[in-house]
């Protein structure tokens, strides 16, 4: 492992000051569940790491009718937080499924949202892909059973963060802090497609920190979250979805449908949202909405099954949001 310096600032300003504008030179570390593994595998080799756990907030506070979550909050604390569970149940549902208890005990909200892809080409040093400054993505012609079916190209990674999906659905805004001060970026604008930004997955600059997640007042929402997992633990979802419904009478007024593990970013399915507006939720309307959500999907050579799986995730999340039983 490459030798590195360790900085342990106690406030946001010092933490930001310890970063560097150069890519992967001085990097924030939360729980280290992702970064340390990448360092040991020689995928990312920073000269300095900056511990943000003592510098950033790790609490949930009321904020303009919603909640504000400190980026240093542990995943385990988030998953057990009563107010979060009451106001944003899909966030709790996503948090509790992440990795394993050991991982959740270490991992932070900021680290989860900013973790790098789990693509096996990216994670093995033999393959110098776009994400590592190379000039190819190995997956289209290679082993792509877990890769993107939407929004792919030229890189076909899927975004790894479970939290990103419900955060986007609830309309979260991220507070970023950099050398020039703070900026507020809606989750919808934070995550970027490879066509816009090939090396990284979001708009965060190397010398910026994600300090808070601001969640707006949820209003009268019904929510459903569904993850399709091969193993029950220590694994990644094949596809998952968060669905938020605002109802009027027995019908959907507006819907939010966001999918995870299907695209290089958390993927908002506007076609499904439009389809659901004005509908009563039944097995059939949920299935039709799921079809709409995946209408534009393009499978690679081995991941066509993910389209079916993603449809099921969307359908079941819709049904759950409507308070119906699912498998």
């Amino acid at each position: 492992m490459k030798a590195f310096a360790y900085v342990n600032p106690t406030n946001e300003k010092d933490a930001v000051a310890a970063l560097s504008p150069q890519l992967e030179h001085s990097m924030p570390i939360g729980g280290g569940q992702d970064l340390l593994a990448r360092m040991k595998d020689y995928v990312t080799q920073p000269d300095r790491i900056v511990n943000v756990k003592s510098a950033l907030e790790s609490t949930v506070t009321p904020f303009q009718g919603g909640l504000r979550i400190g980026a240093a909050m542990k995943m385990v604390d988030l998953s057990e937080h009563a107010e979060v569970a009451r106001m944003y149940p899909a966030i709790s549902a996503a948090a509790i499924e992440v990795g394993t208890p050991q991982i959740r005990n270490q991992a932070t909200v900021g680290g989860n949202l900013n973790q790098r892809p789990r693509c096996w080409y990216y994670r093995n040093e033999e393959f110098v892909c776009f994400k590592k400054g190379g000039n190819t993505c190995f997956s289209p012609a290679g082993e792509n059973q877990f890769h993107a079916i939407l929004g792919g190209g030229p890189s076909f990674i899927v975004h790894p963060s479970s939290l990103a999906v419900p955060m986007l659905a609830y309309g979260a805004t991220f507070r970023l802090s950099g050398p020039k001060g703070e900026r507020l970026v809606p989750a919808a604008d934070y995550f970027t497609l490879p066509t816009k930004n090939l090396r990284t997955e979001n708009v965060l600059a190397p010398d910026e920190l994600l300090t808070h997640v601001m969640l707006p007042a949820p209003g009268e929402l019904r929510s459903g979250h569904y993850e399709v997992r091969y193993k029950t633990s220590h694994d990644w979802p094949i596809a998952f979805a968060t669905v938020l419904l605002s109802m009027q009478g027995g019908k959907v007024r507006t819907a939010r449908v966001v999918m995870g593990a299907v695209a290089p970013v958390p993927w908002r399915a506007r076609a499904a949202e439009q389809f659901l507006a004005g509908k009563t939720i039944t097995e059939a309307t949920a299935a039709a909405a799921a079809d709409a959500a995946l209408r534009d999907a393009h499978p690679l050579s081995q991941n066509a099954y993910k389209i079916e799986v993603a449809k099921v995730a969307v359908k079941r999340a819709i049904l759950r949001a409507a308070g119906m039983q699912t498998a």
Partner: protein, 716 residues
């Protein structure tokens, strides 16, 4: 006619044998006091690290050690694949050894290994079996990438198919998996002049001793090998000491200091063996009465670079007219090593899936169909009885025909499969017993505990013979100083070592009886040992405690020796397994809910550890069925999942309820059990899936992609 009872033989009424004795070293293991090779630390110890080829096939053009030698803490470096040796400068698989280094810390060793500059001339490789078979892969192996075995045929195929009312023609396939031992392969080597002590994670300490000595050109008498605890081998640690073992010894010699060289997870996946793949294109015919009349199979598999990949087929069922042609396909991947019941899980899967497809053709229940086609029942062929007994216990009568018709996406199904395994061992496998005047009992043998509970087995047999509790016995194993004993493989350890232990213990007791008899005023032969006492047979009051008896031994302990003898062990087990699954046909996710194991192993010696082998076997086979897959990039031939994240293994919550029915066959003596329970679970699970979803899945692992694919094809 009165039978003469041989006192050395197994007792008719055992006291401890067959009971549920807690694993002796459980507390040591769970508290971390047990010292695995990984835990060995020696004064001045260095750490070794190997540089491996990232390419599946390449010529090593140069190895530059200059920078590495100057790295902090580096004590010695070594070139394993010398570029100047034009005979031997090729690397044949990703992970093949090229060079090595030893340094004062593990971190320094890793850094230094990366500083060794190796220049490769990358050569065309073959990793895709289909291409090798089609002849479109680069020619890599001398004599060809494919080696056909002698075709086998019995009976008359034409006649057999003529007698068939139905035929099927399908292709079945199992994947390459790796052993994935919890404790990776590794060694600590320490030299004292020309004498070597090696702590190695091995299935055979005496085998390792011979391998070290022969490879290093030193007398075997100069080598001592120690393995007190090991974290799994599954066959991959039953062979050589590996390049890593030899490299470790060489580094230690060169550095004149002990060296520890443990592989990391990636090296473990890449270079320490695997279970070969197995594909079978089968045409089979069945008569209207449900007798399989013909079997015509073309099979192939890859065991890596130049290694074989055979497997038994058809497996167990009697088919009078059959033909089989097998091909080994050589690929630029690490060579296979035996893996828990080598060949049988593949043979079982490729046969059993076919069995249910044939059973459906003649609309027979799978249990009845199997019974119709089995060899005659015998102590080494008990499937008929076990099928009936298991079916009753499992609730087989509640099984629906192929395809669960209940509404909703969750379908339930049941499957059954059978297996056999040898597990017979013999000597020489000497044991040595000591009883001291303080009452202490030592049973010593040069065997090893590969995680199966051998230490407990030693104590159980000894305690049973001496009328003691197992905790009163001190088993000493895992060190070549304790004598010669076979390696642990082929499930042979229990059958090899148990007789000698029994014999040594009985002889020691005889010696003790001699000491005690005079003070009781009886003949030694009148005495027995039971309940911690030595007393007159049928009169426990006339005797003394074990402690008092041993006081009569004097300062020089009683010693005795035993060895394997015929009649106390036997070979060949039968087993049957039932599985129940739930399949979500919308997502393709399979959840195994129940497994029932009906298994014999001759005389049950140590019941808890025997059951534990069944649990472990089932879990291993469940992993084979659902999760494990060595995935190589089709273009570069490099493994994309050499880790435990994408090389999937069941966690606690993926493991079903497992019920074990151990069948005791005391009259057969001891037979091993390590391998049989892992043979057929995968087939039973796959058949349960078939029963649930109504279509066959003919290749492993049962990923959602495969399940959904099969459903789509089945419906179309």
């Amino acid at each position: 006619m009165a039978e003469t009872i041989d006192p050395l033989n197994w007792p008719a009424t055992p006291s401890v044998l067959g009971t549920r004795v807690k694993r002796m070293d459980g507390p040591e293991k769970v508290t971390g006091r047990a010292k695995y090779t990984f835990d060995i630390s020696r004064p001045r110890m260095l750490y070794g690290r190997i540089v491996r080829s990232p390419y599946p096939h390449a010529r090593v053009v140069s190895v530059d050690l200059t920078a590495a030698s100057r790295m902090p803490g580096v004590k010695t470096t070594l070139v394993w694949r010398d570029p100047a040796n034009t005979q031997n400068n090729l690397v044949m698989f990703q992970g093949d050894e090229v060079a090595a280094v030893a340094a004062d810390t593990e971190e320094h060793a890793i850094d230094a290994a990366r500083a060794i500059k190796v220049e490769y001339q990358v050569l065309p490789h073959v990793t895709l079996v289909d291409r090798a078979l089609a002849g479109t892969a680069p020619a890599v192996f001398t004599g060809g990438n494919v080696r056909a075995a002698q075709p086998q045929s019995t009976g008359d195929l034409t006649k057999g198919f003529g007698a068939a009312a139905h035929t099927i023609e399908e292709t079945y396939e199992t994947q390459v998996i790796t052993h994935t031992c919890m404790e990776t392969h590794g060694t600590v080597c320490e030299w004292e002049g020309e004498r070597l002590t090696a702590w190695i994670s091995t299935q055979g300490i005496n085998g390792a001793r011979e391998n070290f000595a022969s490879a290093l050109g030193i007398p075997q008498a100069n080598v001592r090998v120690i393995c007190q605890y090991m974290g799994g081998g599954f066959g991959s640690k039953a062979l050589s000491v590996g390049a890593e073992g030899l490299i470790c010894a060489r580094l230690a010699k060169a550095a004149n200091a002990p060296v520890k060289l443990m592989l990391d997870r990636k090296e473990e996946h890449l270079a320490t063996g695997n279970r070969p793949s197995a594909t079978a294109r089968i045409k089979a015919g069945v008569s209207a009465e449900g007798i399989i009349t013909a079997f015509d199979g073309d099979t192939w598999g890859t065991g890596g670079a130049g290694a074989t990949a055979g497997f038994p087929l058809p497996y167990i069922y009697q088919i009078a007219n059959r033909r089989r042609a097998h091909k080994d396909v050589f690929t630029n991947t690490a060579q296979q090593r035996p893996m828990r019941a080598p060949g049988h899980p593949q043979g079982s899967f490729n046969t059993e899936i076919m069995m249910d497809e044939l059973a459906d053709k003649v609309k027979m229940d799978p249990v009845e169909f199997r019974i119709k086609n089995l060899p005659p029942e015998a102590p080494n062929a008990m499937w008929r009885s076990y099928l009936r007994e298991g079916a009753a216990e499992f609730g087989w009568d509640k099984r629906h025909p192929t395809g669960d018709k209940t509404p909703g996406p969750i379908k339930t199904g049941m499957g059954v499969s059978i297996h056999t395994w040898g597990g017979g061992g013999r000597g020489p496998a000497p044991a040595h017993c000591e009883i001291a005047s303080d009452g202490g009992v030592v049973m010593r043998a040069g065997t090893q505990d590969i995680g199966t509970g051998t230490r407990t087995l030693v104590a159980v047999i000894t305690a049973d013979a001496l009328g003691l509790q197992p905790t009163q016995v001190r088993p000493e194993i895992g060190d070549t100083l304790y004598g010669v004993s076979p390696a642990s493989g082929g499930s042979t350890t229990a059958a090899s070592i148990s007789p000698g232990i029994r014999v040594a213990a009985v002889k020691a007791l005889d010696a003790l009886k001699e000491k005690v008899a005079p003070s009781l005023g009886v003949e030694p032969a009148a005495l027995v040992a039971s309940g911690g006492r030595i007393h007159v047979k049928d009169d426990p009051s006339k005797g003394m405690s074990w402690a008092d008896a041993c006081k009569r031994i004097g300062p020089q302990s009683i010693t005795s020796d035993g060895d394997w003898r015929p009649g106390m062990s036997s070979t060949t087990t039968s087993g049957v397994q039932f599985a129940e699954v739930k399949v979500d046909i919308e997502t393709g996710i399979v959840k195994v809910t129940r497994v029932l194991v009906v298994q014999d192993c001759g005389l049950v010696v140590s019941r808890l550890t025997a059951e534990s082998q069944c649990y472990g076997g089932v879990i291993g086979s469940l992993n084979f069925a659902l999760f494990e897959d060595r995935i190589l990039d089709r273009n570069s031939g490099q493994m994309v999942n050499p880790n435990m994240e994408w090389y999937l293994l069941a966690g606690m919550s993926d493991i079903p309820r497992i019920d074990v029915r151990l069948k005791n066959q005391p009259e057969r003596g001891v037979i091993g059990l390590g391998e049989p329970p892992t043979v057929s679970t995968a087939a039973a699970i796959t058949l349960a899936v078939r029963n649930a979803i109504g279509v066959s899945v003919r290749s492993l692992p049962l990923t959602p992609a495969r399940i959904l694919g099969a459903l789509r094809q089945g419906i179309a």
